[in-house]
Symmetry: C2
Subunit: 255 residues, 2 copies
Amino acid sequence: MSDSLGVLDRMTAIFEAFDEDDRGLRISELAERAELPKSTVSRLVSALVRQHYLERDGTVIRLGLRLFELGQLAEEPRELRAAALPVLADLRRATGRSAYLAIRDAHEMVCIAIMRGDTTTPLICRIGGRIPVHATALGKAALAHADPAAVDAVVATGLAASTPSTITDPARLRNQLVGVRRDGLAVDVEEFGIGVTSVAGPVFSPPGVLVGAIGVSGLSGDIDVEASGPHVRGAALALGRRLAPGGVPPRRPSH
Amino acid sequence: MSDSLGVLDRMTAIFEAFDEDDRGLRISELAERAELPKSTVSRLVSALVRQHYLERDGTVIRLGLRLFELGQLAEEPRELRAAALPVLADLRRATGRSAYLAIRDAHEMVCIAIMRGDTTTPLICRIGGRIPVHATALGKAALAHADPAAVDAVVATGLAASTPSTITDPARLRNQLVGVRRDGLAVDVEEFGIGVTSVAGPVFSPPGVLVGAIGVSGLSGDIDVEASGPHVRGAALALGRRLAPGGVPPRRPSH
DNA sequence: TGGCGCTGTTCCACTCAGTGAGACGAGGAC
DNA sequence: GTCCTCGTCTCACTGAGTGGAACAGCGCCA
């Protein structure tokens, strides 16, 4: 808190004001969402547009191309993704469902790569999107192998219910994590999306560090949990083996 | 130039110091590349790490997860990509080669989506990567339908040779662009990568605005330029039709 | 036509946030 | 031990960034 770096905070407030489903924001909206004076936003936006971090078309501001480029340069997603693509393709082929790869960031999973199964199945997440750790197979797979403090932190943020089946009781969650750790497999039956079932497993890099989770997801009627298990487990192991030692360093716990 | 916004410039200098093939940089390297004092870099990096725009593992700094997320939120790539995925899949199936989608930014094309053909063919570009406009089929397809000032600007930056076959003579480039505009198709035979041939076409959104280029690329021996033409043209049209009117607004010329 | 509500940009005096040379402490190498 | 090089911290200085207020440019309506 001592080191504020005001300009940066203001800048990130502007970036964070953008959300998935708006097609561009105007200065006033931006100022309101970021809780900053209009004049400040106007000035910062001009600077960011000049740097191509934002784009502007008339009065409408959008996230810029350079952010897309920089994002693609981020090492962890990039390397993990590159290693995972063939594995995800195999997993999709074997199960016929959509295959996902995600990494944990605090109490959410960030989706890194997706291989869509049949186009009728709805996706549970967009690439770069976030889903709750406690309510998804991917999340539980990762959390089960995280250090205990991480579990405490997740519980502490509160287990929000996404559907009536979401696990909201800390004790039940912890209990289930034990099973996940034993089986090397996590399942979520309509805990995140109604009508959607998922199976996922933890991915370890060769030194044995947890790097993320891989799994499949589909309509509850379409997916065969029993049959998917071995495929998911196989994919998790295959991906682990493909990760060059030290290639994808472990994530530091997020402060 | 009047409005400098020093902190932002320093911050972008830090971001821009990262390049594709280094696995993290230390503060000193960062300071050297960004041409900033170590103490300043140290301070800014701390702030950016706190915001998850950078990640740090011991002394090694990497681009952070939030950049990846933000990048995925950037509207233009996101919408174009979503519309293009099925089209790219068809194109790959029809030609058996790797299919690419890119948009133009000044004198370079930024790659937005790729569907890899057979895994033996080398890719000409990574997602989020840049390739020169004048030396690639994708670039020439886009440039042929850009406004004349854009062509002048590209020529003015100098036509650097990537291979002995790269077009470096402005007159010859302009001449070829006329043909591309007539045919709705651009070809590059080993002008960017030795042994690599590509075919690409311009993509227009329904109001008739150029939004990018789509094409295929492969080893010169594998790719059948004549046969690919109609598939590429078809894909370009199909993608255009899939773009909701106003969905992907035209790019402003980059200052 | 003139007034109104809404944009986004510019101005400018105030001041505090950011700067960076240099001091500092922590490792490694030998 | 000495000598590197690493990253962080200190602190006096100052100019860069701030934001309220004034301004300019719409589009709308009576």
